[in-house]
Assembly symmetry: C2
């Protein structure tokens, strides 16, 4: 399968690195898209190569979208191309996995009204205001959408994501 | 299965967190042992609870030993109890997975003479001096022993480890 991650500087390091390594472990190919190509740096200091520029992404070429958290989504959610990509995944009912602040991009894209989902606790009110059926659980699966709250939820997040990917 | 990780302050964050979360994803139970109970802190700043003290560990209760890297192994290798635990795993031919500086503990325990293995590049000479058949590859599997060099090798490291654990 072909995996797309969208992130930017100040990503939550473990929420990007764990899924990234996990998908490679499984033998999937993976692209990381950001505002521009080149290294992006996590809040804790890890660097990883964003090998694609958002504007060049054809979402039809990907099977799964992963949206890690941290402060990156605050930037990503302002990019119309990121919202268009997310919309493609929802239209096609392809798996979208968002953790922590990651769901903010889905709020801005207007995609999760009426859906069961979770997020980092500081995003909960914004989720509810957007019409999300918010649940304070380690992972919430609603059709194609998988959401989790924080790094300690990663095992449950990955367990549910891998069910969609296998 | 029951997994034991041994580490200490200044662990390489991703080399501890990725296997830790991966094993929980798979449903295994996991203990982290250190010099004393309580939070240990990685080089990048992640904290995790060491829920066991080394001196209290009965290695017969565990199925797999994981030795992450960073600067922690420089401390762990001086602990006779850590060396005794490693020896138990080798005597019983139970899986031992060591990455980066993690193999230093196995050198101090005198366990890897004549074995095929790898490590972080700065440890290569020490490995060779200890009689290791050193290989500069992302993962080297020799019987119960799985070794890798660095964080970017984690997908291959985990792929081989999971074969032993499933």
């Amino acid at each position: 399968m072909k995996i797309l991650m969208i992130s930017a500087d100040n990503f939550e390091d473990s929420e990007l690195l764990v899924p990234y390594y996990r998908m490679l472990e499984e033998g999937h190919s993976e692209d990381i898209a950001s505002l521009k190509k080149g290294k992006i740096k996590g809040k804790k200091g890890y660097e990883i190569e964003a090998n694609r520029e958002l504007k060049d992404i054809d979402p039809a070429k990907y099977d799964v979208l992963i949206l890690p958290g941290g402060k990156a989504p605050a930037v990503i959610r302002k990019e119309q191309k990121a919202l268009d990509i997310a919309k493609h995944f929802f239209d096609e009912e392809k798996p979208v996995a968002a953790i922590c602040h990651g769901p903010q991009t889905l709020i801005s894209a207007g995609l999760i009204k009426g859906r069961h989902a979770t997020s980092y606790r500081s995003v909960a009110q914004e989720m509810k205001d957007a019409g999300v059926k918010y649940e304070d659980r380690e992972v919430v699966v609603d059709g194609n959408l998988i959401t989790s709250r924080q790094p300690s939820d990663i095992p449950a997040f990955m367990r549910e994501l891998m069910k969609k990917v296998k």
